[in-house]
Amino acid sequence: MKYVDEFRDGRLASQLAASIAREADPSRSYRLMEFCGGHTHAISRHGLADLLPGNVRMIHGPGCPVCVLPIGRIDQAIRLALERQVLLCTYADTLRVPASGRLSLLKVKARGADVRMVYSIAEALGLAQRHPQRQVVFLAIGFETTTPPTAVAVKQARALKLKNFSVLCNHVLTPAAMHAILDTPSGTRLDGFVGPAHVSTVIGSRPYEPFARDYRKPVVIAGFEPLDVMQAILMLIRQINAGCARVENEFIRAVTPDGNRKAQALMDEVFELRDHFEWRGLGTIAHSALKPRPAYAAHDAEARFGLEYRPVSDSKACECGAILRGEKRPAQCGIFGTVCTPDNPIGSCMVSAEGACAAHYNYGRFREPSTGTHAPALEDSA
């Protein structure tokens, strides 16, 4: 199976790296944000930073579903599990997100709450069918990629007339977060975006047009493989050098201008825009998230259980906000790697492998001068 290697070929990578080095103008710097956590992870896992010249910097964006989930949202899930004794299902990463009172879903699970880790929402739906006497709630998180499966499950639940299945919906929208970052007055300088892969297969490339047109920021949608990201970086540098700002698509093998119309129609049928939604790090953003339409209220956990939202501010020491906005690097947080580690995360960016802090801790912390290592040059080794 050549599939995996084809996109990670070291020779191709060094050719691309040479082009980037040749075309990057040494008299300026390039600050490029990869929006998506999948890209953050790929960049870190493959050591892509080592192939870029010093004046090309990748800035990690907020596209990590677990990272942008505010404490108040996890608290809601915890209240459902503890006080309403629901069977709460969610993805593994969400279990460890720190909530109020030093709790997390993992910790309340250990205290006896019925919290289950699932790989898909379909599993949660199955649990509801097998346990008709239990209320099953799926804690749904994620950007446009994970929204269609939630829509499918909600529709199925209605078709099956399930009275015990609901979704605690935290689906959020990519373009809204990009607007929020660009609109932050004190924000960091960004010269362009590497646009998300999977999200764009759903929403298409068109929703990025305003960033090019109105903000003059080039956007290049890139696949998830490290070579895709490098190609996108090269394309961004070319646009920046030429002084233009367009939406380009490196991931033509999967993304079209209009995206997946069927998935969009499905989402539109089941969900509507929330007036506003609190994001961790980005604050409350209007029209940035989805909730089930009133027709599906029976499967909306917030409606079914009369849940109210109580915002909770992050730990004072945690710099996740600034990191999610691209204003700080993980190592600039005072508790990075000491108090806050993947085994004991204080902020959400240290939880998921896609989070900027976790990615830096797991893959890149040898690069920080303060942790200086004695590793030899790559050529010396076995």
């Binding site: 199976m1 593994a92 790989y119 797991n362 890149g364 040898f366 290592t373």
Partner: protein, 346 residues
């Protein structure tokens, strides 16, 4: 010995019940008709609370390991063979020749006797193939819902010849890191069975007893410092343990890591990193740089080491980082696993 029971155990339809752990006649019958029948040897035949073993000729190495794998049967093995291989390997990577095993079974009420027989039979076969004897054992039964079918704990004893010392604290900068074969086969075999995933080529666990491969390596005269089997937590955990014990760093070469392409694709599909996935029939060896090629040749000459490779080297590093040069041409840390990636893998 006179048979205790009037009616033989029903090994086709029968199930474990609470009386099988009660210490009474039913338990004695289970031991006699199922365990002893499968495992039969002179030591078990002693029939006492403890087993009397001959005086060993060398230092003793002892290791114990509990097995809770789910599912109990998987491509390439079952909990029975796994519990034999796992403990043999823990003894063998100390450089010792494994001789005896003790086995303790925790059975859940309702567990099918036919499955138990199959599992004990597979233990017997694995032990026989490895020339190791299961000399004593114990059985307990817990109520339905309080266990998950069957858990097995095995304890192994082996003999270490004088003059040979291997350990995780003996790696030194400059040493080479060798790996005996492909990564992640066991973990992905379990996971694909558990998740009902089908791949073009089925993924088979690498569960195997490594002591014969190790014996071959030890006779190659290479100066081996450390041997270890990268089970739970995968190669990443094993190398980080050694780096910490020896207070060194390491640099792996991603391009040199042997991988089964189906396992690699499955990992990719499930978002797992093969460096963290469990192996049950692989070992890591650290040896002096000058001897690495000789050791590699010895490993490759053995059926369990055909795909061995030199995958990296030991460095001086005050932080004890395990790093990897990626295929892409960059570098990253290979850290300890955080959290629980794959529960109940062994």
């Amino acid at each position: 010995m006179k048979t205790l029971a009037v009616r033989a155990l029903d090994l086709v339809q029968g199930r474990v019940d609470m009386s099988h752990g009660s210490g009474g006649r039913a338990m004695a019958q289970l031991i006699e008709e199922l365990f002893t029948a499968e495992l039969e040897n002179e030591y078990l035949a002693q029939g006492n609370d403890g087993v009397l073993l001959p005086r060993p000729n060398g230092r003793l190495v002892m290791s114990t390991d509990s097995h809770v794998v789910s599912p109990l049967f998987f491509p390439g093995g079952d909990i029975g063979s796994l519990s034999v291989h796992g403990t043999i390997n823990d003894v063998a990577v100390m450089g010792a020749k494994p001789l005896y095993l003790a086995a303790a079974f925790i059975l859940e009420e309702g567990f099918a006797l036919a499955d138990l027989k199959r599992i004990v039979g597979s233990m017997a076969r694995a032990a026989r193939e490895a020339a190791v004897t299961i000399v004593t054992g114990d059985t307990k039964v817990v109520e339905r819902g309080k266990g998950d079918g069957l858990f097995i704990t095995t304890t192994g004893v082996g003999i270490l010849p004088e003059g040979l010392t291997l350990g995780g604290d003996l790696a030194r900068p400059g040493d080479k890191i060798l790996l005996s074969g492909t990564l992640g086969d066991h973990g992905m075999a379990i996971l694909s069975r558990r998740e009902g995933l089908a791949f073009d080529a089925p993924i088979v666990s690498d569960s195997a007893a490594l002591h014969d491969l190790i014996a071959t390596m030890l006779t190659s005269d290479a100066r081996i410092k450390t041997l270890r089997d990268p089970t739970r937590g995968g190669l990443a955990a094993t190398l980080n343990e050694i780096a910490r014990q020896s207070a060194v760093g390491m640099l792996l070469q991603e391009g040199k890591l042997p991988m089964n392409p189906t396992v690699e694709a499955a990992c990719e599909f499930l978002g797992l990193d093969p460096l963290y996935v469990a192996n049950e029939g692989k070992l890591v060896a650290i040896c002096a740089a000058e001897d690495a090629d000789r050791l590699l040749a010895a490993m490759r000459a053995h059926p369990l080491g055909r795909r061995s490779a030199i995958v990296g080297e030991v460095l001086e590093d005050a932080h004890g980082f395990v790093q990897m040069a990626t295929k892409l041409g960059g570098r990253r840390i290979v850290d300890w696993l955080s959290g629980e990636q794959l529960p109940r893998i062994c």
